[in-house]
């Protein structure tokens, strides 16, 4: 079972986001970058399938700045076999990223092309389905369960109020959601081994963006709650305010 896993370098979810003076980027000072949490599930899924099959390779692919080497090393430390970094700065739009990734993936042999369901910086949920469309591959997103038998696969994807059960054939694009597995932590041995694994770097030229950032801002600070009162005594006042003031009852 051969897999390619696309992974992104993103600010840690606990980052306090501050907009930089240019209003087009976030202030980098003190930001800790990590492997996108949903991509950890994708790497884990690839590793488990390779282990279950007893053969195959897991290649991780990232488009990002020089710092994304660390992101790829993390995936290698988890157990991936090889990594490719497409070097590009800035935060290109979904389609631009998808085109560059698809270009690199085209011609490679794989059974599964795995993604996280979403990058937690741009929250786009775009790249997996775009890559699939460009490469004309079957695609299932927000997957919480994946079963393969030979070339056939069945996935469950999360939808409002339930799951869709989806059938398709490999090779295919699968974008995974939390819950599909428990990602492993890199072991010390894994971290040491990762240093010797191949990490190929390529300079790439990005296409012109289809979507452009006009400006970034921080959401207005919320004003603190009006404390209606204490305990059950306050309920009548609350209900009245919800009905008459907020008009939501």
């Amino acid at each position: 079972m051969n897999s390619i896993v696309c992974v992104k370098r993103v600010p840690d979810s606990a980052t306090r986001v501050r907009v930089a003076p240019d209003r087009l980027s976030i202030d980098d000072a003190g930001v800790k970058y990590v492997l996108n949490p949903y991509d950890e599930y994708a790497v884990e899924e690839a590793l488990q399938r390779k282990e279950a099959a007893g053969e195959g390779a897991v290649t991780v692919l990232c488009l990002g700045p020089n710092g994304a080497r660390e992101t790829l090393r993390t995936a290698l430390a988890m157990g991936a076999d090889a990594a490719v970094l497409l070097k590009a700065d800035g935060s290109p739009d979904g389609l631009t990223v998808a085109r560059a990734l698809a270009e690199e993936i085209r011609g490679r042999e794989f059974d599964l092309l795995l993604f996280g369901k979403q990058a937690i910086d741009d929250d786009n949920m775009q790249v997996p389905a775009m890559v699939a469309e460009i490469l004309e591959l079957p695609c299932v997103t927000v997957v919480v369960e994946l079963v393969t038998e030979g070339r056939q696969a069945v996935a469950k994807r999360e939808i409002e109020g339930g799951h869709e059960v989806v059938e398709f054939a490999l090779p295919a694009v699968v974008a995974v959601q939390k819950g599909i597995n428990e990602p492993r932590y890199p072991s010390l041995k894994g971290i040491m081994a990762a240093k010797k694994k191949p990490l190929e770097e390529k300079e790439i030229q990005l296409a012109d963006p289809r979507v452009q950032l006009v400006s970034l801002s921080e959401p207005p600070p919320p004003k603190a709650a009006e404390i209606v009162g204490e305990g059950a005594e306050a309920v009548s006042d609350l209900v009245r305010k919800l009905r008459e003031e907020a008009k939501v009852l």
């Binding site: 949920m125 890559v131 409002e160 963006p209 919320p222 709650a225 204490e230």
Partner: protein, 327 residues
């Protein structure tokens, strides 16, 4: 002059409510762009008969593709339909609901049409540089304004944020032929969660519980409040209680759960960690019930009661029932 296309969503043979939000937004934009409003829906035979009322909220034309194969989500046919209509219509914008289906379909269409896409928009405006979309990034910790290099601009709209206005239009139904083959994936079935239960991401009122509830059994109190609030209300949960196994992950609100924007959100026994706020801060009205006056949830809530939730909840359900019964 540019027309706007609203891609509607169908489930269980009926047009879903969220589609009306998309048609309403499309009609407003089309008005500003001086074009007309088109709606598109794929569904099982008969689905078109329930779509005529989209004319009341501004749809000039409603394209309906009916096929037994369209009873469940069919991404390939949907992409074909959008591409075909765009080929003949050359839209200024194509709008989708930012639902599970819309967020799967919109990027496929964007790649096919080679156009830009903005996900989960909370505002869409026509300005001198064309369509400008506002959308949250970093789980709502920043807001981005985005513009498009070329038309059509593809945008998915966050549910519950846009509401349609009455805007009488022709609502002309036009049958559309879309081949159901070839297909690369087949949705075999929908496994429904608990029967008849509304999803937290779709609800107009959400009652979320956190670790303050102390035990899975105590959810009866929250269920009673949901019941008192009536149709449109659903349960939500913090990650702490999902991790504890008290509630299913499908109910989790927050960065690693669902993003919700209901009209009314109750946070009960939830401290208000930044990752929880990421999923609910765009709710219209937030009510917090917490025994700790210093809990950060009070920093984002509109109204708060400081107190023991076990005393507050029964009384709250009772009074809300009374108020609703009197209406």
């Amino acid at each position: 002059m540019a027309d706007v296309l609203a891609v509607c969503e169908v489930r269980d043979g009926a047009v879903r409510g969220v589609s009306r939000e998309v048609v309403g937004a499309a009609a407003r934009l089309a008005g500003e762009l001086g074009g007309s409003t088109h709606a598109l829906l794929l569904g099982p035979p008969g689905v078109g008969s329930g779509a005529a009322d989209l004319g009341e909220i501004g749809a000039d034309r409603i394209y309906v593709a009916e096929d037994d194969d369209f009873g469940l989500y069919h991404p390939e046919a949907s992409v074909r339909a959008v591409a075909e209509l765009n080929g003949s219509g050359a839209y200024g914008a194509i709008l989708f609901p930012a639902t599970a289906q819309g967020k799967d379909l919109a990027p496929r269409c964007a790649a096919r049409l080679d156009c830009g896409l903005a996900t989960d928009a909370t505002e869409v405006e026509v300005e001198k540089e064309g369509l400008v979309v506002t959308r949250p990034l970093y789980a709502g910790k920043a807001l981005a304004r985005m513009k498009f290099a070329a038309a059509p601009a593809l945008v998915s709209l966050r549910p519950n944020v846009f509401s349609p206005d009455p805007r009488p239009a022709a609502g002309e139904i036009v049958a559309l032929e879309v081949a159901s083959e070839p297909r690369r994936i087949r949705v075999r079935e929908i496994e429904a969660g608990e029967r008849g239960k509304l999803d937290v991401a779709e609800a107009s009122v959400v009652v979320s519980g956190g670790r303050g509830l102390q035990d899975a059994d105590h959810w009866a109190l929250l269920e009673d409040l949901v019941d008192a609030l009536g149709e449109g209300a659903a349960l939500g949960a913090s990650r702490a209680v999902v991790d504890a196994g008290w509630r299913p992950h499908g109910e989790q609100v927050g960065q690693t759960g669902k993003t919700v924007a209901p009209n009314l959100y109750f946070a009960v026994g939830i401290s208000g960690a930044i990752q929880h706020l990421a999923g609910m801060r765009t709710a219209n009205v937030i009510v917090a019930i917490n025994k700790d006056p210093e809990a950060p949830i009070f920093g984002v809530a509109d109204y708060g009661i400081v107190g023991d939730l076990f005393e507050v909840l029964p009384r709250l359900a009772e009074e809300i029932r009374a108020v609703r019964a009197a209406q």
